[in-house]
Symmetry: C2
Subunit: 275 residues, 2 copies
């Protein structure tokens, strides 16, 4: 027998990010089924709809069970086509849009849609500026622009500072610098001098020794850098540094980058620059 | 009078990314209303629910119209609390989860949820590796690792290569290098030699002269670099390079980073490494 198997389609006339985000969030609540997801973006013509239908029907046939289809299609003709596939269809907008329209007293205009939201020039500029800020101020490369930072992430090497900085930039337009706490900083036993003037912008990342060892071993297997002793020593010193200086910090060992970024926003009260 | 005003809340016991993504996508279809969105993540205790209720009620009172609440709360007690606020409540999971449960013959387990999806170590590693790959191979800094790239983005300076590379890494785990086509490359009138062995991985970004002028002026106002003539010249040469070498390319002038990345995946047929 084995675990039951279901194909899942996330379909949209745009990027399909909405359909995929919601669909995955719902499916994560069902265990014991092997979901096989497929994303079909830009289904914006009868030809593309026909192609999607063929993929769906083939999956249903192969699985011996109806594929699940999450869609956010707005064109009625295209939506009707996709709904005609041999599948268990979940129209995400259905219901919600009608109720909101009644409450607001406004008719929806599906074709204006969200596609160009992020292209309005202020948003675009904030994102790009934030990305370049994160790059220019990554890994302690430069410290002289910390006065322009919204936050300065600190932590030991490979605690997740760089991806978190970039995610904060791309998703929230936040200018995040990051500074690695090195052995030299640790031996100094005090907050590195260069960070002192920006103490109120510091945010510490903490990580479990086990996780740090695993991540560092991917990078330099069996090195001192990746040894349990070394990782423990650095983490203990950094924890003391956070506590001695009242730096807010977060254990990111069990967190996705999305969670880390959202928690940082929540804990610091920082304002997003976009969205 | 002015434009009607509505507060909107995206509420979840996790990051609230699902509630926010779907909510924004729906609201973008309603024009003529000034939506004021607020995100409240991690509503996972009665105290936090009470705090959310107070924010919602205050907004409804101030606006003189019920706030819209998009939520993906799974705990019944907390959900009931938030539903008791003076608001127009849109329970996103309602309906969808029940239908899927019947179809699958499986009871949902809301508490397993998705929070830790991205922490499974393969996914985490793929994302982080891809981010570091993008950083190490950004802006033509190094070209010797292009054999390990999934794609090499090319284009003129400030056509969006860097943020697109980083987004491809963070969202899809794709290893994207990027290489700026410089004046020197243009004067050479052929594909830069360093790109020749990787011709099948190249993807070109195109941008309108107007947009490029605007973006470059933000960086170096009134420079030759940002002048209309210079931008036109570079763009024309690069367009010829794409066509002469059968490099697929995309006009990104009116696109968000999400759209650019999704289109590149679609046009190249590249496989995601995560999700």
């Amino acid at each position: 027998m084995g675990i039951p198997y279901r194909s899942v389609f996330f379909i949209s006339d745009g990027t399909a990010i909405t359909a995929e985000t919601l669909g995955r969030s719902i499916l994560s609540q069902f265990s014991g089924i092997n979901f096989e997801p497929r994303v079909i973006p830009y289904v914006d013509s009868p030809e593309r709809a026909q192609n999607a239908i063929e993929q769906i029907n083939a999956a249903t046939l192969a699985d011996g069970a109806q594929a699940l289809v999450f869609d956010t299609l707005v064109d009625p003709e295209i939506r009707a086509m996709v709904n005609s596939a041999n599948a268990f269809n979940l129209d995400i907008y259905e219901g919600l849009i009608g109720r909101i329209s009644s409450e607001l007293g406004v008719e929806p205009d599906p074709h204006q849609g969200q596609a160009h939201d992020s292209v309005d020039s202020d948003t675009y500029k904030s994102r790009i500026d934030a990305v370049h800020f994160a790059l220019d101020n990554d890994d302690g490369a430069r410290t002289r622009h910390y006065d322009m930072a919204d936050v300065v992430l600190v932590g030991v090497s490979r605690s997740g500072k760089t991806p978190t900085s970039l995610y904060l930039a791309l998703r929230f337009g936040i200018r995040a610098a990051n500074y690695p706490i090195t052995e030299e900083d640790i031996d100094y036993h005090k907050l590195p001098k260069v960070l002192l003037p920006h103490k109120d912008k510091l945010f510490g990342l903490e990580i479990s020794p086990q996780r740090l060892v695993a991540i560092r071993n991917e990078r330099k297997a069996n090195s001192r850098y990746a040894s349990v002793d070394q990782c423990r020593r650095e983490l203990k010193a950094v924890r003391n540094m956070y506590e001695d200086n009242q730096i807010p910090f977060l254990d990111v060992s069990e967190m996705s980058i999305e969670e880390i970024a959202t928690r940082i926003l929540q804990m610091t009260g920082m304002k997003r620059r976009i969205g």
